[in-house]
Symmetry: C2
Subunit: 452 residues, 2 copies
């Protein structure tokens, strides 16, 4: 058994290359023990992830940090109602999380805080030797991305960016198709975040969603902090749900990399109109005078080292149905998300779309076949279960994280490069190579094994 | 009757502004006479337009110019079989069209030749006082666009760019919706030319489409000349089917204008693969050594003076179903072509797409309601009838052309600006203002009247 495991690990290391062969700080030592989890931020998103952790037999929640007493109480209740003892709490101000990081019986931390806290908290956690599961966001600066990378390289503390859409069932089926050459050589890809967030960006100060046009100090939950980014920044603010899956299709940082982007923003009308049209808003509401900088639709084009073009669309201020707008196009065919259709040369009736359903079933990813029942009922159609499972299982095995700090940096930096391009009238911006050239030799690891 | 007509014309002039109030050279004098048409180029496209002209009671074909005896014979046969006398022929070399322009009994010329001939032929025709109906294409140079504009301004000879997709039934219904404020203020638009042209770019040298991998001297019809553009140029080669309708939605050159664009091309794989995979091609075929410059997918983003963003996609080398990929998005809702769906705030079920069919029927454009029967059976689902009808009727009335030389120049120049942007690694390129500032005061005319 030990020998078999050794061979398996050696083989894995062979595949993934020297540069990311694991870590040495993690304190988890065997399958008998549970992974001891600390939560930094238990708002809407943190609470949801916490509830999934509580369902796992291999994990326990030992600490919670949040400055909001209401949400903290909800989290504690969730833990104790699951039959566990009450976790240690850290609630005393924005830097209370540093004390959590000193707590000894914590192996991993989940960072589910406002975007601007992801980097300092992740950096501090890695330095403290706590493996990091960090929620997704765009970066605040290019240097932030370098901080994450360099801290990881210095500490070798596991870091995973929790991009759940990489685990969406149809996305993983398409990944399976890409790997089995159904689409031929990859040529052009699209994705985005097209999600009407007006009732997330504004609420009544009490409830999570809508019911008013308040934000900032008078808002609640995401409206408290997320709206500030729409107020002050103009760019692709939330790139990862689109670019994460696309990256797995074309092996970004593992034989390929992003070279440059250009970005364009439309005018900004949606948020102002939402305020003035709202029954609790109107032209005389204080927020009707606010000038939101974020263009309603931001379009970003990325060129890769291997010659693929990628289009990302960020569209969160206007009335529209939710759609990530994926498109995967190669020399043999195309998949489009919005009409849930495919066209494969020689298989599809010439010049006609066909439903993607049959393909999605035929190429259902082995992980989804295996874990369908475990994932059912988990957030966002089950993908939240998969991203959590991947983090915990990779941690337990001391495997490299499937979505790592290089993925995080090259995805999150899109926000900064997009802002720069827009502010310069569309000038192209080069991507830093966060791998220092290692992208040329690194091999894919995402969703290749049977365990996660 | 005369008075009523005068009032109507005056009123029209009031709407369209001083700058484009018509022309003085046209020789057509009354509804009793027929519009005398000359055809320059009667290949696949010219022959199709000619057949529509022959169905009209108000037009007659008096001259044909083409250097291909086979297609010329087909055209002559079409004219005589329609009961008309045989037109005068001009077949003696590439400059024979100049002799056609000297022919006295020609009022208008249809230019349906390879792209690179559109400008010299249109310029010569305008100088000869023959009203021009010019087929669509991208420009060869920015100066070409200026030549068209300046020649029009000097001669005042009517010029219309024959962009048929502007008259597509669903496109005109959407235009109707835009004008009735169904979508609110325009924010973001998309369009393109996504059409698998591999069997147009390559054929067997005898038939129009496919059956071989020949082009240039060994190809036939479009493969003879169009493929050279894919061989030598990398850019948005065919912008008008996408940008024409979009321009009508946002009043380009009539209160709005294009400011700048950026363009990105994917790698070029599709045409080479088509040659090597083809039963009559293969790795040893001479054309397998040809290096095609045109990226398989070219994405272009355009920013307008009024703040809309536009994305155009050019995708003609890969297997895929035909789609122009329209998207019209405003502050109240969105239409998408690919899933034939709409979402209108307050009307659609929240967060759900609904079929665009009911909207298309409710907002069917008055011209389509009126002329549905006349258009049925005409090319491309009837829109070819409309674009021809618009040209002939505007000519007869001495009205300004609904799609004029400024539209042509600002659409066609996209090709050159796109090539420049791509060759400069995505740098933004500014649009010339072909209206010399008149866009600020010019008023919309497209599809506003009852006649065309």
């Amino acid at each position: 058994m030990q020998r078999r495991k050794f061979i398996q690990q050696t083989s894995t290391i062979g595949i993934i290359g020297i540069a990311s062969q694991g870590f040495s700080i993690g304190k988890f030592v065997g399958t008998e023990e549970k992974v001891r989890c600390g939560f930094i931020g238990v708002g809407a998103r943190g609470l949801s992830t916490l509830s999934l952790v509580l369902l796992r037999k291999d994990s326990v929640v030992t600490a919670i940090c949040d400055i909001d007493p209401i949400t903290t109480a909800k989290a504690v209740k969730a833990v104790t109602e699951a039959g566990y003892k009450s976790p240690t709490l850290y609630t005393d101000g924005e830097h209370a999380y540093k004390k959590l990081l000193d707590q000894k019986d914590i192996d991993v931390v989940f960072i589910c805080t406002p975007w601007e806290w992801h980097t300092p908290m992740s950096v501090d956690a890695m330095k403290a030797g706590k493996a990091v599961a960090c929620e997704v966001a765009g970066a605040m600066s290019i240097d932030e991305c370098w901080q994450m990378v360099r801290t990881y390289e210095q500490t070798q503390t596991p870091f995973m960016i929790m991009e759940n859409v990489c685990y969406r069932r149809d996305v993983m089926a398409v990944l399976n198709m890409v790997r089995q050459d159904v689409f031929g050589e990859m040529i052009h890809l699209e994705g985005g975040y097209q999600h009407d967030l007006r009732e997330v960006k504004f609420n009544d100060g009490v409830n999570y969603y809508g019911g008013g046009v308040e934000f900032g100090d008078k808002g609640y939950s995401e409206a408290k902090w997320r709206t500030a980014h729409s107020l002050n920044r103009n760019g692709e603010l939330y790139p990862t749900h689109g670019i994460g899956p696309v990256s797995s299709f074309i092996n970004i940082n593992r034989g390929n990399r992003f070279e440059y982007l250009t970005s364009m923003a439309s005018k900004a009308r949606g948020l102002h109109k939402h305020i003035t049209d709202h029954p609790k808003g109107g032209m005389n509401h204080a927020n009707a005078k606010v000038d939101f900088k974020l263009g309603d639709v931001v379009t970003t084009n990325i060129k890769t080292a291997n010659g693929e073009s990628i289009t990302l669309t960020h569209d969160t201020n206007l009335p529209r149905p939710y759609s990530l707008g994926f498109r995967v196009q190669g020399t043999k065919g195309i998949w489009m998300d919005v009409n849930k259709s495919m066209y494969i040369e020689g298989k599809s009736e010439p010049h006609r779309w066909e439903s993607a359903d049959a393909y999605s079933k035929t190429y259902d990813h082995p992980l989804w076949k295996k874990y369908e029942n475990d994932a059912s009922g988990a957030g966002h159609g089950g993908m939240d279960w998969f991203v959590l499972n991947a983090f915990i299982e990779a941690y337990k095995r001391k495997d490299p994280m499937p979505l790592d700090v290089y993925d995080h940096a090259s995805w999150a930096v899109i926000t900064c490069l997009s802002e720069q391009s827009i502010s310069l009238g569309g000038e192209p911006q080069s991507f830093p190579d966060f791998t220092d050239g290692k992208w040329m030799s690194r091999k894919p690891v995402f969703a290749l094994g049977e365990a996660y």
